[in-house]
């Protein structure tokens, strides 16, 4: 039968294909994870959202691009700003003109010299001087960026701001690069090699780096979209480092790993919509603060690790952090109930916490809060939403009652955490409204004396705490797991991963 032999031939071919596949698949299956410390694979929780540093917005992207790009100045692990692309700078008496000297001989990754034109181009691009909207809202303060000579650039501000240097960490990129979104070129210790969506971001050491060169030559940032698999991937050897392991995951790792414990530099809080009933009543907000116990949250969510906070500031901003504010509301159910009665809610009330589902710590925190609030008769329903729905509904449209998230600081300035509470600020998603606060904040900005300035910022923090702008909880703990083949991880007061400091162990 003709057809019979035909189908037999097909099945023979099929069999051969599969056998070949099987042989390839199973031959040499000895795991190739054998130690090679010249190559480091770092797991990162989310994909790079833009290769163009000026359009990168995610904290998870910025922490990676930190290794590739540098600004005129660059933060270090102690929270100081050090000159980077600029070798030195001066600030005019009136805090209006910042003058930078270009570092001598500094090169871009493509080998070209950094010029003052590149600096002007990079700053102008962010300030939107061509009439478009500024990419960084703080850059709307820039009057102009002027090239003084071949090695000097001055930034002229519209109004005096003694704190503006913190904004100038913005990446300097070559003006000649016509395609920064796919061919990133910077001046950092690592240069870009390749990237693949949802897969990885590969960099290699930049040997002409102006500063201390990186120790490890090849670094791959591997996107670990599945956070549940992190322990398996660390143990299996497909990643050497992961900076966001939870305390429970950490407990499952063996002694092939060094665990570094720090904090994430976030203000985790149950943010409340101050414009929404019943939260427009300060007594209700205070009652919530009295009812919840940050220590208990930390016990449940991360086995007691983490740092309590009492206002919109986290501990690694040592200059501004006020530990005494942690005691503004010591857990006191009776007091909370009393305040609710005063406010006209003797039987409690019901509200919904919207929480982004991609952050398990925040979801867990919301669950603990919901249990705690039961004790004062308040029912908190939890609604998990997608991150983008959160961005548009909660953050942009302010259509929510309460939410649990962590807010990070994009620069080393206190303003990056406090600016959002000014009544008419575009980012004031909690709708906080206090003339007293606005005044203190304005005074802080205007003041050029550092000590007085800090005092005003602290005043702001105090108002946030007393007015219970939100229920401040903690700065989440950060556990970094690093394979013992490597050493040298350092924490920063910002959300960055400095890979250039990591070196092979022995």
């Amino acid at each position: 039968m003709k057809r019979g032999s035909f189908s037999r031939r097909i099945s023979a071919i099929l069999l051969m294909i599969v056998m070949t596949t099987l042989t390839i698949a199973l031959s040499g299956c000895s795991s190739d994870k054998a130690g090679d410390s010249s190559k480091l694979t770092v797991g990162i929780p989310q994909d790079i959202d833009s290769l163009d540093p000026h359009y990168a917005t995610g904290a998870g992207t910025k922490e990676v691009l930190f290794n590739v790009f540098e600004g005129l100045v660059k933060p270090d692990e102690n929270g100081n700003l050090n000159p980077a692309v600029a070798s030195e700078y001066t600030v005019s008496e009136d805090n209006k003109v910042y003058t930078f000297t270009l570092r001598d001989g500094i090169k871009f990754h493509d080998g070209s010299q950094v010029t003052v034109e590149d600096i002007k181009y990079s700053l102008d691009r962010n300030a939107g001087t061509d009439g478009s909207e500024p990419l960084i809202s703080a850059f709307s303060q820039i009057e102009s960026v002027n090239i003084v000579d071949d090695s000097h650039v001055e930034v002229v501000l519209k109004e005096a701001d003694s704190d503006f240097l913190t904004q100038l960490t913005v990446a300097i990129i070559p003006a000649a690069n016509t395609d920064p979104a796919t061919k990133p070129i910077g001046t950092g210790p690592y240069k870009y090699v390749s990237s693949s969506p949802q897969e990885n971001f590969v960099v290699t050491r930049f040997d002409d780096y102006w500063g201390e060169k990186a120790f490890i030559k090849d670094v791959t940032f591997k996107i670990e979209a599945n956070a549940d698999a992190v322990v398996m991937d660390l143990k299996g050897g497909s990643i050497d480092m992961y900076a966001r392991v939870t305390s429970q995951q950490a407990a499952q790792l063996d002694d092939n790993f060094t665990l570094y414990e720090g904090t994430m530099n976030l203000v985790q809080a149950m943010y409340i919509n101050n414009a929404e009933k019943p939260f427009d009543d300060v007594r209700v907000r205070q009652a919530l603060c009295y009812a919840i116990n940050p220590q208990e949250v930390m016990d449940f969510v991360s086995d007691g690790a983490g740092a309590e906070i009492g206002s919109a500031m986290f501990p690694s901003f040592t200059k501004y952090f006020m530990p005494e504010l942690n005691d503004t509301y010591d857990t006191d159910t009776a007091k909370a109930k009393e305040l609710l009665i005063d406010a006209g809610y003797p039987n409690g009330f019901e509200f919904t916490i919207k929480v982004p589902s991609n952050y398990p710590q925040h979801v867990d925190t919301a669950q603990v809060l919901s249990e705690e609030l039961k004790s004062i008769g308040v029912t908190a329903n939890i609604q998990e939403i997608e991150w983008n729905t959160w961005l548009s509904d909660v953050y942009s449209d302010r259509n929510y009652q309460a939410t649990v998230v962590g807010v990070d600081a994009s620069t080393l300035s206190a303003t990056s955490l406090l600016a959002r509470y000014v009544s008419d600020a575009g980012r004031n998603f909690v709708n906080f409204n206090s003339p007293e606060y606005d005044e203190a904040y304005k005074a802080a900005l205007a003041n050029s004396d550092d000590a007085e300035k800090t005092e005003y910022f602290k005043q702001c923090e105090r108002i946030l705490s007393e007015q219970a702008a939100s229920v401040y909880i903690q700065d989440l703990p950060e556990f970094v797991a690093l394979n013992k083949k490597f050493t040298g991880y350092v924490f920063y007061p910002l959300y960055v991963q400095d890979i250039s400091k990591i070196k092979p162990a022995e």
Binding site: D228, Q248, Q252, F300, D303, V368, N381, I382, E384
Partner: protein
Amino acid sequence: MNSYKKAIHKNFKENTFFRWGCIITVLILLLVVVGLFWMPYEPTAMNAAEKLKGISLRHPMGTDNMGRDVLSRVMYGSRITLLIAAGTVAIGTVAGTIIGALTGYFGGMLDEIIMRIIDALFAFPSILLALVIVSIFGIGWIQLLLALGIAFVPSFARIVRGEVLRCRNMDYVENARLQGVSDFRMIFVHILPNIRGVLMSSILIGFNNAVLAEAGLSYLGIGSQPPYASLGKMLSDAQQYMFGNPSYVLCPGIVIVLMVLGFSFLGEGISRWK
């Protein structure tokens, strides 16, 4: 009625698949029914001192990462999972049968249009449909039920349509038509009862697919809302504690497998009815 009882009795004795199907399903239903009236602990009650404990007398299935009793949560979770599965199959069967019967019976332009939409739905992975629905209405088990229900309509509609097409030209239908039976009566009184066998097995299979799909979607983060969790959601939450506390993964996992297994044994048993 008596012969029915006898047949069941006989099958229970001789039909292994049917027997085990009954036993397993009754066990699972027992877990759910008991849970309606009594659970060892409040399924949301947290206890910081007893986080991620293994199996013990106090906690027969151990505790989770918040120190909540896994047995109580499994009891509650089975309830949610069963509800989702039952709801999904209900939506799929009712809508699918109506659409399939009408299009199959009347044919013509209506059939063409509806079948194109059904084709489009078929080509649209159910997971995507669920993602879209969840993006619009937020995450929750009712949304999940709705998404799965809609995703199940095409397959039911196709099966029923095929059967109705087959029956339409049969003698008994012709006879009835000659006697002047109305279309409506024809579909629902004469044709549908004749395809109940096919429908029954589709329902059992659909039920299992719904339980499994729920688990898959929960894994992708589209599940029930905390603090309560369906079995699938528990299973995916537990995955990260696999090395430290295997019982937290295994218990909901085994309950899901048993739930599906019970129903597929029942289905297998019925197909081997003696």
